[in-house]
């Protein structure tokens, strides 16, 4: 038997072992276990603030850790830092490219980052001595578009790219410290674990992977979706994560069970999901769809708990603040809205 044939057999055996191990611990379904749980009731959220200032579709947003400021990126080629309490614009940052796909806020509040079709992750210093905003680094190295970026701290950022890889960067030197390879399709999204030791990525190969940030290894791979995964988000306690896909479903994957626990879908819904967020407790899952609709799901029971903004489907991106007090949504009409 050739060596290649031997290796193929070994891989097949390992796959079977994984499948059997997963089946062995699959003693029940999440919906069965939560059948007796009270439903959350109908969720109806109200707009508390409208943020006006962008001139085109909002592509991405992220809250700052103070749950008050947030950054948004728009087709108008600007990054805007907002004070969501007063609705004031703190900074309006012009970008070199209008085609921005992601933006991020450093936990310290001192930096913002963004990237898109330029394949570059640009880092902006928000707290310069002169009081204005400056580009401090342009992290280039990816050979595909920058789909997502998330700060670990002021000196490290993780990125995902259309070149099928993710990378950890040293912002100071501008170099990639670690490259995470393994996906066979464009990586669309990433989410850092609460303890910052791992992150999960979702890609157009319909799989999501858990990576160890320090050693660059893929610790676990999750399958189940039948089409591109566009969004991923960690469950608040770090033991699970949810993905949103073009197959019109969101799925909850548990790290310890190493498999899918729940699927959030409905026969009436045949539109892909492109953004996901959890409420602070994790009981609610917010999902933004490609037709600009936004559904609120009961994470534990798998039922739909409400629809956000019923008319004029408007949600192009969304995010929940870390104190759990507000949901921000960006729209195709250039406005951002704060809800709770």
């Amino acid at each position: 038997m050739s060596e290649l044939e031997q290796l193929r057999q070994e891989a097949e055996q390992l796959r079977n072992q994984i499948r059997d191990a997963r089946k062995a611990c699959n003693d029940s379904s999440l919906s069965q276990i939560t059948a007796g749980l009270d439903s959350v009731g109908r969720i109806q959220m109200r707009t508390r603030r409208t943020l006006r200032g962008h001139l085109a579709k909002i592509y991405a947003m992220q809250w700052a850790t103070d749950s008050r400021l947030l950054v948004s990126a728009s087709q108008d080629g600007k990054l805007i830092i907002w004070d969501s309490y007063s609705t004031n614009k703190i900074h309006a940052i012009p970008l070199r490219s209008s085609w921005v796909m992601t933006c991020a806020y450093a936990p310290s509040g001192s930096y913002a980052a963004c990237g898109g079709l330029d394949n570059i992750c640009s880092i902006y210093s928000l707290k310069t001595r002169e009081g204005n905003v400056r580009v401090t680094r342009e992290l280039s190295g990816h050979t595909g578009y920058l789909s997502c970026c998330r700060f670990l701290d002021d000196s490290q950022i993780v990125t995902s790219s259309g070149d099928t890889t993710c990378a950890l960067w040293d912002i100071e030197t501008g170099q990639q410290t670690t490259t995470f390879t393994g996906h066979t399709g464009d990586v669309m999204s990433l989410s850092l674990s609460p303890d910052s030791r791992t992150f999960v990525s979702g890609a157009c190969d319909a799989s999501s992977k858990l990576w160890d940030i320090r050693d660059g290894m893929c610790r676990q791979s999750f399958t189940g979706h039948v089409s591109d995964i566009n969004a991923v988000i960690f469950f608040p306690n770090g033991n699970a994560f949810t993905t949103g896909s073009d197959d019109a479903t969101c799925r909850l994957f548990d790290l310890r069970a190493d498999q899918e626990l729940m699927m959030y879908s409905h026969d009436n819904i045949n539109c892909g999901i492109t953004s996901v967020a959890f409420s602070k407790s994790g009981r609610l899952l917010l999902a933004g769809y490609d037709d600009f609709n936004c559904n609120v799901w009961d994470t534990l029971k798998g039922e739909r708990a409400g629809v956000l903004a019923g008319h004029d489907n408007r949600v192009s991106c969304l995010g929940i603040s870390s104190d759990g007090m507000a949901l921000a949504t960006g729209s195709w009409d250039s406005f951002l809205r704060i809800w709770n």
Binding site: G53, Y59, K89, L117, Y145, S147, C204
Partner: protein, 237 residues
């Protein structure tokens, strides 16, 4: 809210990174000078924009969203073309979503069947607002007047009203939950407000009801106000 003819006509991707790629392709095809892009490149953009057109169905191709030649086409763009394109994008969305039948008055429903009909059989883009009221209950008269005003201002929304006793489910709508406002679209309940007057002042007007519904994202924007023309002040070098 998906699977309807108009929504199916929408391009495959609108949001997220793929939405940006789609917007960029559309910009290159429609907004830039025809001379700046050779016809073979235009053909590539057209093919990549059409999700069903892959004649070469290898797994590799389906997992990659942009081709190498497309990356080479990315360059500095004319700001004027971009501005025009952005306005065009928003205008198209407004038109797409305000498509559908128009109304100008509040419809009185006289039975449970009429109620079900209006919920299930309206155009899938039409928002249906139903006021459940009864005589002698505080707030119902005022609310009816308010909705009459709003019906004239929001022509794409179908405002209706029905007496609790006519619904055939009178017991469900006891006096303490009236007036009730139910909001539907494409057969789905989007908003459910029992005793809506407790959210409003004792004396309320059409604008108060309008603001209330707007806060829940349940009314369309009245004017196309999303295109401010002045440039924002920037403080970045």
């Amino acid at each position: 809210m998906s699977g309807s003819p108009e929504i199916e006509e929408l391009p495959a991707t609108q949001t997220g990174p793929k939405g940006v790629i789609h917007d960029w392709r559309k910009f290159k095809l429609e907004s830039e000078d025809h001379e700046s892009i050779p016809s073979d490149k235009r053909e590539l953009l057209r093919q990549m924009s059409n999700p069903k057109s892959s004649n070469d169905d290898s797994r590799e191709k389906l997992n990659r969203k942009m081709s190498i030649q497309e990356y080479e086409m990315i360059q500095e763009e004319d700001e004027r073309c971009l501005r025009k394109y952005r306005r065009q994008c928003m205008q198209e969305m407004h038109e797409r979503l305000s498509f559908g039948p128009k109304f100008d008055a509040v419809f009185e429903l006289d039975s449970g069947e009429a109620f079900l009909d209006v919920i299930e059989k309206e155009h899938h883009l039409t928002l249906v607002v139903v006021h459940i009221y009864d005589d002698g209950i505080t707030g119902c008269d005022s609310l009816n007047n308010c909705l009459t005003c709003l019906a004239a201002e929001y022509s794409t929304v179908k405002f209706c009203r029905i007496r609790a006793s006519a619904t055939g489910a009178g017991e469900r709508f006891s006096d303490d939950v009236l007036p009730a406002l139910l909001v539907y679209k494409a057969g789905e309940l989007l908003g459910n407000f029992m005793c809506i007057t407790k959210h409003l002042n004792e004396e309320f007007f059409a604008t108060d009801v309008e603001n209330f519904l707007n806060e829940y994202g349940l009314l369309p924007e009245k004017d196309f106000a999303a295109c401010p023309v002045e440039e924002e002040n920037v403080d970045v070098e």
